[in-house]
């Protein structure tokens, strides 16, 4: 029975992955045919990068169910590490992956460090500690002459293109979808629902929290590396409170603990940002307001703990039985 389930999971994960890959191939074909304009392509790149960020945030805030605000810090670390790599060490274009991975790995190390306070403290206190982490990162970057202090780094080679972004996104989707159905992913779900009970059935809470933070930081670090090489510059002020809110809006818009939701949230918010460009700083008023509205009316986000494939299955079942099926919330 168990084995059967396992293979079923793999099959559905494989399907998900295949459909995502097909979407990316379609996108790249459209690009090669010259149908997409440069600006549309840019929006797709933003969507891809932020989808990776949101997948990373979801790892901790969604699947693990811990409220962390460290993502802006991880993103800053990823962006700066990769930028330093390409600017000072490997400026050749084919070495770009090394820079991306370096950004991810350094962020991952810090992620493990941030995981330590999460063993003991929780809830609001952890939110404040992780916020502290982000602000420390920002403050350190502002004072380091080596990386341009508060002016930041300029003239970063613009290596990022749609292939890198979509490649990294596919990698992120693959890793996350494999991870959440693995032993560790199920442990995270157990910890989210009841930490004490999961300890009683010998789930190693510390190890699993560290893994979740490490993976989350790695993904966000990669996204940071990509965004730095997309914009061509990076400055400490970009990774403060506004960045934190941006990330939260996308996570909660799309839905907690859902791959579909992560991509959807990133896509909707990035398109919205482009549409609201004329609003200038009013866009933060809209963003903050949107966050409140989501919280009041749909606290788990649009795809909270649901995947697109689950929805399709539900619709199929509904059509078969011909009436509304009371599935209940098996996941929560």
């Amino acid at each position: 029975m168990n084995k059967n389930n396992q293979s079923l999971f793999n099959k559905s994960a494989a399907w998900k992955f295949a459909s995502a890959a097909a979407a990316v191939v379609l996108l790249i074909m459209l690009k090669e045919l010259g149908i997409l304009s440069t600006s549309t392509l840019l929006i797709f790149q933003y969507i891809g990068i932020y989808a990776i960020v949101v997948l990373g945030i979801n790892m901790v805030n969604g699947y693990l169910g811990v409220f962390s605000l460290a993502h802006a810090g991880f993103m800053a670390v990823g962006a700066y590490t990769a930028a330093v790599c390409t600017k000072f060490f490997f400026s050749v274009e084919w070495m770009f992956p090394v820079a991306i991975v370096a950004g991810g790995l350094v962020a991952m190390l810090l992620g493990i460090l941030v995981a330590i306070p999460s063993f003991k403290t929780r809830g609001d206190y952890l939110a404040i500690i992780t916020l502290g982490f982000t602000l420390i990162v920002q403050s350190v970057l502002q004072n380091m002459e080596f990386v341009g202090a508060s002016k930041g780094l300029n003239n970063i080679p613009r290596h990022t293109n749609i292939y890198w972004v979509m490649g990294c996104l596919l990698f992120a989707i693959f890793v996350v979808s494999r991870f959440i159905h693995s032993k560790y992913g199920r442990s995270l779900k157990a910890i989210r629902q009841d930490q004490v009970a999961s300890m009683l059935v010998s789930v190693d809470v510390r190890l699993n929290k560290s893994i979740a933070f490490a993976l989350s930081a790695f993904l966000i670090g990669i996204a940071g590396a990509l965004i730095g090489h997309l914009l061509g510059y990076t400055s400490p002020s970009a990774y403060g409170f506004t960045n934190i809110v941006d990330g939260l809006v996308m996570v909660y818009l799309g839905g907690m603990g859902s791959i579909t939701g992560s991509i959807f949230g990133a896509a909707v918010w990035q398109v919205l940002v482009q549409l609201l460009k004329g609003l200038g700083t009013w866009r933060w008023v809209v963003g903050g307001g949107l966050l409140c509205i989501i919280m009041v009316f749909r606290p788990k986000g649009l795809f909270g703990y649901i995947e697109l494939s689950d929805l399709l299955k539900k619709i199929q079942a509904k059509m078969k039985s011909g009436k509304l099926k009371k599935g209940g919330n098996k996941d929560e």
């Binding site: 939110a127 404040i128 420390i136 403050s139 809110v245 809006v249 903050g288 409140c292 919280m295």
Partner: protein, 300 residues
């Protein structure tokens, strides 16, 4: 000697401002059990109201004392209303929701308020008019301006008053009951929802008083003033133990000591942020509920 006295006065002044803001933040946490990330923006609103009312009044009257009192009253009223409005819109519908939801919602409200200030009042830094007459007097061979002494005095008086209200009045008793156990307090006939709203008003009034003190002490501020000072009082409150008034005062003075002492030792003055955060994280690692925080037993 004179430099020590001067720094001591600076320490007390900064400490009392941090203590007041930390209490104002801690009030809401202690009673509503919610980290109010929007509090910084409420503080910002109070500064702007104070600024606009006092600049307007200085055109018609001379007496700084009168202006100070009127402007402070106006800013208390407006910030209370803003806090109540926030509470009605963003927190009240979420009374029964998980805590994280409310925290996210408060982050959103804070963002909205801060950028509303930016969009209506502009991003330019403003200078608060002098609300306390510029008198200096000598103490131990140091010239100390009157406002520094007054800031410390006002802060102490406010804290004593607050302590009396919380300890002696009916509302204070109700607040303490709600903070101990919201459900049981409801059973005893306390209108918990109204008490929580009252705690928001208290927090807003304290923030407005602290804002007036901050304005007199440092005079220059911009739209993100709340962000800066409230982070510090967050740390102060968390360090002392969120929800505890005495803890907030202790935390406020510790943070003030760090920000006065650290620049003397460290090469770059802004590294004091890192020291303060590091101290906070260390304290939380050892004592997860802060220095004077109540130990929370985990319910299974």
């Amino acid at each position: 000697m004179s430099i020590i006295v001067q720094q001591l006065i600076n320490f007390l002044q900064l400490g009392s401002i941090y203590a007041l803001t930390a209490i104002s933040f801690s009030m809401v946490y202690g009673i509503a059990g919610l980290v109010n990330f929007a509090h910084g923006s409420v503080f910002g609103v109070s500064m702007y109201v104070l600024f606009f009312v006092s600049t307007l009044l200085f055109q018609v009257m001379e007496s700084t004392w009168l202006v100070y009192v009127i402007a402070l009253t106006a800013s208390c009223v407006v910030t209370s209303l803003v806090a109540l409005l926030i509470e009605q819109i963003a927190y009240r519908p979420l009374r029964k929701a998980p805590k994280v939801t409310v925290v996210v919602s408060s982050v959103g409200v804070g963002m909205v308020l801060q950028y509303l200030i930016l969009n209506t009042a502009g991003s330019k830094a403003l200078r608060m008019p002098k609300l306390i007459p510029d008198i200096k007097f000598a103490l131990l061979g140091v010239n100390i301006p009157l406002f520094k002494i007054l800031i410390i005095l006002i802060a102490i008086v406010t804290m004593i008053l607050l302590n009396l209200i919380v300890k002696k009045t009916r509302l204070g008793t109700a607040m303490r009951a709600v903070s101990q156990d919201t459900i049981a307090a409801g059973f005893m006939g306390i209108a918990t929802s109204r008490v929580i709203s009252a705690s928001f008003v208290f927090g807003a009034v304290l923030a407005a008083i602290a804002g007036s003190l901050y304005g007199t002490a440092y005079s220059i501020f911009a739209y993100n003033v709340g962000e800066q000072i409230i982070w510090w009082s967050f740390i102060a409150a968390v360090l002392g133990g969120i929800g505890s008034i005495r803890g907030a005062v202790l935390g406020g003075f510790i943070i003030s000591a760090i920000s006065i002492l650290a620049p003397m030792v460290l090469p770059v003055s802004s590294y004091k942020d890192i020291v303060a955060f590091a101290v906070m994280i260390l304290v939380l690692l050892i004592k997860p509920t802060g220095l004077l925080g109540k130990k929370v037993n985990e319910k299974i």
